[in-house]
Amino acid sequence: MTNFKKGISRRRLIKTGLAGVLATGVSPYIFSRSAFAQEFCNAPTGDTVTLGFNVPLTGAYADEGADELRAFELAVEHLNGEGDGGMIPHFSSDALTGNGILGKRVAYVTGDTQTQSDAARDSARRMIERDGALMISGGSSSGVAIAVQGLCQEMGVIFMAALTHSNDTTGKDRRRYGFRHFFNAYQSGIGLGPQLGDAYGTDRRAYHLTADYTWGWTQEESMIAATEALGWETAETVRTPVGAGDFSQYITPVLNSGADVLILNHYGFDGVNSLTQAVQFGLKDRQANGKNFQIVLPLVSDLMAAGAGNAMQGVFGTSNWYWSQQDEGSKAFTNSFGAKYGRPPSQAAHTSYVQTLLYADAAERAGTFYPPEVIRALEDYEFDGLGNGPTLYRGADHQCFKDVFVVQGKENPSNEFDLLEVVSTASRDNVTYAPDFFEGELGPYDPAMC
């Protein structure tokens, strides 16, 4: 390690309220920085601790990103003891007291990932190097999440992934410094399989349209495995670029492919567009092989359902969480989110909120911000009350294990947000797999110096 590496990265000014245009950087730190030694990257020295929220505000997943940001803001409020406390009173751990984290007030900075790995890493670096963020959260694209997770490992900053559903995030690309609360594509397949079998029978031919990146690939793989286990055939798998907008040229070939189910491994606006366009092409009213043609959207959120409108009716998918859940934690979160923003939270918002709380809780329980200790506090941690029932943060791959909800688009929504209903639940035991099911290596605990 050279002294160079410590760099000039500790900027505290932005969040101290001094911040004016010039104050972004008016600081004599360059001369004083070497004076204090720091035991790990961005160790908080003042009375605040800064978290970095890196979400897509543009691109195919911008809707999700905006909702994640709302949830992060809410979580920060609750951690600082403002508002009604949301899920904190219902959380099985009582380490959080509304007194910030370890007595330090929580501040935050945000960045736009643009749904691109490059831009996401840039903005994460800015938050770590310039703004001194101690933890990064966000996602909404597994490509982005994996890229940022890698960066965080290098810089020794904990990454609490928000919405990322690829198997790889905690599979082959798992990292010691990365944690995922959200479920994954494999679990979606396990959850969705039996439901599809019940509804559509065992003699089906499926046509896959797949977003061409890590999430799409793993979801396609998981869905093929789940449907072929039912006895279905796979007619064709076609990769589509992320953010394609117009999917008509990919949908037309479905018409004469001999398939009778279309599986859309798309998310966000891509999912909305491909689903509505598929419906425009009359796929839902179609007969194929003597059966009614069906469309499946394996990962679905209420934001997508809102975007797709009528097209979503009757379509099956899975969800990490849905706001009409009736457990106390979910109700409290929905109420406090609804009161603040006038709309119910999406699953993206939920996982972002929960991840922020879990990080804060782990730091409290560890009694330090020192990342290896926080990591150990999260590993193999069993908790409850955060909306998904009893949940395990498995130490071997940093994946959460909890129930998976199978949802269906409502035929007659009672209001503009009541679009999905939970039709079945795959139990945590069912969706749990062996840690080495996906090969991967977490890497060292030792903190790198950013």
Partner: protein, 342 residues
């Protein structure tokens, strides 16, 4: 066979959009000699005319009822759309047909935008190098799209098509094929016919009116037209407005097919430039032919059989064709001598 036919159909609507954008681009280029990188932004602005129109007519009076709570804990909102309140059933019909009706808004708005753009900025660049024209219009395109982002946000805003046109037409059965073998969404059919209509109107205008004759003459030889006493600049301003209207209408009607976002123009711009170059700089029939050709080729390239033959061809077909055409026929399919060659 049916698959091929289905892909052919599928190329038509996109081809129509390309043709309309390329037509306006060529008009501006041919008459004013300006390479307009902001032309895609005009398409996008047209699309947002539809968005604005819909927001206008679906404007709701929101009152909250503190007595009741919504399921997510906020006070219950009671929304009353103004159009429906005052116009009753007619309001509902207007809302249903908001996309085609927004043409009425788009025509004057786009005409004004076009004229202001030409008078305010473009006209100062007639005698500047093409590189500078590209740059200033590129900058203008950024400004326009960012303004739209400021007002409408970064996310796509879906525009529903009129309910009559939802679903797909069984085109196959019209042609005696197996029913259901070739279906094509009604709105895409509408879009194709609409683009044919606009294209015919523009060509008829150019062919049969004096104004059109002057414009055609101006595209071929600006100097001579001026020497015959015609104040061509004034007409060109109007021409620019017309090109903006064509691009805008193409955008309005495209909204149900692709929810518009502020970035839409840039996505179409690159493609339409390729279309113009393939068609031949300054050739109107070339632009139209190339528009449909590329739309259809792009659609064919997505066929599984072809993709298996040449992996990735669906991603690059347009650019590949542009390169080949430029190398083999530097003036494009129907380009003339002397355009963009000085």
């Amino acid at each position: 066979m049916e698959a091929i036919f289905a892909q052919l159909l599928n190329g038509l609507d996109k081809g129509g959009a390309y043709a309309l954008i390329a037509l306006g681009l060529t008009l501006v280029f041919g008459t004013l000699g300006v390479v307009n990188f902001a032309h895609g932004a005009l398409f996008m602005l047209g699309a947002f005319c539809a968005v604005a129109f819909r927001e206008l007519i679906t404007y709701e009076i929101v009152t909250t009822d503190p007595e009741q709570l919504s399921p997510w804990g906020s006070p219950l909102e009671i929304r009353t759309p103004i159009a429906q309140q005052y116009l009753g059933d007619w309001g509902a019909v207007i809302i249903d047909y908001s996309v085609p009706l927004s043409i009425l808004l788009a025509i004057p708005v786009m005409l004004i935008i076009g004229i202001v753009m030409e008078r305010g900025l473009i006209k100062h660049f007639y005698n500047r190098p093409h590189a500078e024209q590209i740059l200033v219009t590129f900058g203008l395109a950024i400004v326009l799209q960012e303004l739209v982002k400021t007002f409408f946000g970064p996310n796509p805003i879906p525009q529903p098509m009129p309910s009559t046109f939802r679903g797909a037409a069984d085109v196959g059965s019209w042609l005696g094929l197996t029913p259901g073998a070739v279906t094509y969404p009604w709105w895409r059919l509408v879009y194709f016919l609409f683009s044919i209509g606009i294209l015919s109107a523009v060509f008829a205008f150019l062919r049969f009116t004096t104004f059109g004759m002057v414009v055609r003459a101006g595209m071929a030889d600006r100097e001579t037209v001026r020497l015959l006493g015609i104040d061509i600049d004034r007409r060109f301003t109007l021409m620019f407005g017309l090109a903006a209207v064509v691009a805008g209408l193409a955008g309005v009607m495209y909204t149900p097919l692709l929810p518009p976002n502020y970035h839409l123009g840039m996505e179409f711009l690159v493609l339409s430039f390729v279309v113009v170059v393939v068609g031949g700089m300054g050739s109107l029939p070339g632009a139209v032919a190339a528009g449909f050709l590329l739309g259809i080729l792009q659609s064919f390239a997505s066929m599984t059989a072809i993709k298996n033959l040449i992996p990735g061809i669906d991603q690059i077909i347009i650019y590949l064709l542009a390169v080949v055409i430029l190398l083999v026929r530097p003036r494009g399919l129907m380009g003339r001598r002397g355009v963009m060659e000085s």
